[in-house]
């Protein structure tokens, strides 16, 4: 399990960095959980299912302030003009891109995969702890973001990582 987490963590960090740089010109830094200012920053949460070739659930939690900054830059609008719809669209599209990029990294180049449409999460993280394969924490412009990956079939996930 430890080897699986390390391999997955390395792939995920590269994917997070690439996704945020290309989408929002924001650099990210992986940190320990206790370095995240979670108590002061409200988080917006979304999840995405990888439905094939194995089932994986990916959760992305981002500080609302980080999402607001991205919206402001991307839509070229003032802070007071930002809508909740724009904030949530940035969150779900970031997760969609991140999920696709991660699967491309994990799978052989000729292996197809399927993703669900991303959906918002309003309740607490609903998965059983034993299914969580990896929790990774990052700072982007000093603001927190968190990625959780769960999979019931950890052996299959491990096999994918060793392809």
């Amino acid at each position: 399990m430890e080897e699986l987490q390390q391999l997955l963590g390395e792939k995920l960090s590269g994917v997070v960095e690439e996704t945020f740089e290309n989408m929002a010109f924001i650099s990210t830094e992986e940190v320990d959980a206790e370095q995240l200012p979670l108590d002061t920053e409200p988080l917006r949460k979304a999840r995405l299912l990888v439905t094939a070739p194995i089932v994986i659930e990916i959760h992305l939690h981002m500080a609302e302030e980080l999402l607001r900054q991205i919206v402001e830059t991307m839509y070229t609008i003032d802070a007071e003009e930002i809508t909740t719809e724009q904030i949530l669209d940035v969150l779900t599209e970031t997760l969609n891109t991140l999920g696709g990029c991660l699967m491309t990294q994990l799978l052989p180049s000729d292996q197809a995969f399927s993703l669900s449409l991303p959906e918002l999460v309003t309740e607490e993280f609903p998965l059983a702890d034993e299914n969580i394969v990896l929790s990774a924490y990052y700072l982007a412009d000093e603001l927190p973001l968190k990625v959780k990956i769960s999979a019931a079939a950890t052996e299959e996930l491990g096999a994918l990582l060793k392809h």
Binding site: D89, E93, N96, A112, F113, S114
Partner: protein, 123 residues
């Protein structure tokens, strides 16, 4: 009339990112039009002339594959080149899109250089 590019994506954020990348890529075009799904794009193409289409695959209502199928059957728009922008980079997905007439594909996340590389011969 100047050259026009249509972006089809259910995410307004991705439409913004694609628009930004198109402008940064230094391509020769004058206007960008947007649609939120395949059906909205087909409706828009009945009224507007477009030179190139960039389309997402995974969309609610009408997805990118169904859009390609319907476009292929419509003589007035079937020759407009379409490039798919997708998270699913698998060979079978890209192969299916090409069999339905797609001229190429770009995988998210992408840089303006990639946009330029794929689109420069199409516009």
């Amino acid at each position: 009339m100047g050259k026009r590019i249509l972006i089809i994506d259910d995410s307004s954020t991705m439409r913004k990112i694609v628009s930004r990348s198109l402008r940064q890529a230094g391509l020769d075009f004058d206007e960008i039009l947007e649609a939120a799904d395949g059906q909205e794009a087909l409706d828009l193409l009945e009224k507007e002339k477009v030179d190139l289409i960039l389309s997402d695959i995974n969309m609610p209502n009408m997805d990118g594959m169904e859009f390609l199928r319907q476009k292929k059957e419509n003589d007035s728009i079937k020759d407009i080149p379409v490039v798919m922008i997708t998270t699913e980079g698998g060979a079978d997905i890209i192969g299916e899109a090409k069999s339905l007439g797609a001229a190429g594909s770009i995988k998210k996340p992408f840089k303006p250089e990639t946009i330029n590389e794929v689109l420069s011969d199409l516009i």
